[in-house]
Symmetry: C2
Subunit: 304 residues, 2 copies
């Protein structure tokens, strides 16, 4: 059983754009048209034991991550967040004080990013045992020239990455995967600066190899990274930076000149867009004169 | 730990309407304004062992219920569904065939009610054990005179209930709570027919006593039911009809003439709106010459 295959099955009949749903499932967010207004929507979840280590993670960081994971999807579309909703299932043993800590963090994080929490549902496990599950749905609106999608990369474009990758989960279970800043401001600045030269974008949640393959697939191209140019967090080898996931940085494809920093965050040209021959890998890493199939280096999905 | 108290805590700072959020949390759905368009949003969840009995319930009915529970909130606002999103956490032992059965039902139910599924997230428990959790977020748009809210009941109004209540969970664990029809068409017909004489509405998920108390609280009134006029499903005593929950019928408050059926569904005048003296119960049931505090007869919340 595999999350991506299940999602593909769900959306098998829903992949054609329509007037009501101009961006169907398959991007970082879907877009719906309501009386001529475009609204972007997405849903994501944080599960104890899957997305964080219960034994060490303060619930304030769990609540923060539930919102910021969704905001990273908003950033990937270069959009502006509007409102959020939360549904949580809590073990009764969590207790009221810790539950309050969780929801205070959800609400405060949502407000901090101008994405107020306007609805919620809570269920408490009383007769069954289960881990904490916190789902967040988010609405956003396109800015500037409209949402940046996964499709649109063209042969000859360059592939860029913001920040540094890998080493996102520290030895103690904490670290970047809980504390990252969603690249909302950087994405919108990028869209404003590059205009129509910004061809495609995705956020890095499952690992550069896996996420770039989504972008390549949607765009009908091959992406070739240069292993030595993948920006690694101190101590992280490039294979880890490529496959670990939970970076919540942006991977984007553009032509022409691109700034070397955005709001102080480094921007690195790490690869290029090539023609994809039939049957060829979606993403390749060049290392020491060899071409490796990067989609096989990544995790299938982040959830254990 | 109590779901309603936690929700109240979350929204403690978000109860005032604003230009961006004309209907803040506290109704069946919140309303957000985007470029002059009003969008209603809500989120709800179905949890194994809480909202259905795993041992007996086909996953097709679990998927159906995940959507129809949300649609019942849309009905409560007399609104029109637009799109839905699903986030599911699945035990790995569920297996691909059963997971597919679940998602097919979610998608088909959503399509059946003109509320296409346009986004989703799936996590699979691999290192932890846990029950199936299926969260659905829904967007809708107001129709006619606008959304019908919980506030608005006036002293002298009558209180009506659609359909019959109680006996929603059959001895085998199946029954109405899985098979109900959300009262979308009935609610919109009601809003069209009564116009401004339809003062307030809520859907019945937690039990008539509990749900009517939300309506009474928001409206600043007391609701008095006549025990003999509460429409009970065959075999269900009125106390069960009042407190069991999962009816997914409509409870509404109106003045003047009200049709006795809506789309073939009976409509029963079961109570009236009275002035609420300070400290008095929100909902009272008159039975055999006695006045009982109905809010103490209902469940605190449906989740066990």
């Amino acid at each position: 059983m595999n999350e991506l295959e299940l999602l593909k099955h769900i959306y098998a009949t829903a992949t054609a754009p329509s007037a009501e749903v101009p961006i169907p499932p398959g991007d970082d967010m879907a877009m719906v048209s309501v009386g001529g207004r475009s609204i972007l929507v997405a849903i994501d979840q944080v599960v104890a034991g899957c997305h964080y280590d219960e034994a060490v993670t303060p619930l304030s960081l769990v609540g923060r991550k539930a919102i910021t994971r969704c905001l990273s999807d908003v950033a990937a579309m270069a959009a502006r967040p509007l409102v959020s909703l939360v549904a949580a299932t809590l073990p009764v043993a969590l207790g009221e004080r810790r539950a309050t800590e969780l929801f205070d963090a959800v609400r405060e994080t949502a407000e901090h990013y101008d994405c107020p929490l306007i609805g919620g549902d809570i269920a408490i496990y009383r007769q069954v045992a289960g881990p904490l599950v916190c789902s967040v749905a988010i609405m956003a609106e396109p800015t500037g020239l409209g949402p940046i999608r996964r499709a649109g990369a063209r042969v000859g474009d360059r592939v860029y990455v913001t920040g540094v990758l890998g080493g996102t989960r520290a030895d103690d279970g904490l670290g970047h995967h809980l504390l990252f800043e969603p690249r909302l401001a950087e994405a919108r600045l990028l869209a404003e600066t590059l205009g129509q030269r910004l061809h495609a974008m995705i956020d890095l949640s499952d690992g550069l190899g896996r996420d770039a393959s989504h972008l390549a697939e949607r765009s009908g191209v091959q992406i070739v990274f240069d292993a030595e140019r993948i920006p690694c967090r101190s101590g992280a080898p490039w294979r880890q930076a490529l496959s670990e996931g939970e970076d919540y940085e942006l991977c984007f494809v553009a032509t022409g000149e691109v700034p070397s920093t955005l709001e102080g965050i480094p921007v690195t040209a790490a690869g290029e867009v090539c023609r994809r021959e039939p049957g060829a890998p979606l993403v390749v890493v060049r290392s020491g004169g060899r071409n490796l199939d990067a989609t096989e280096l990544g995790w299938e999905h982040r959830s254990p």
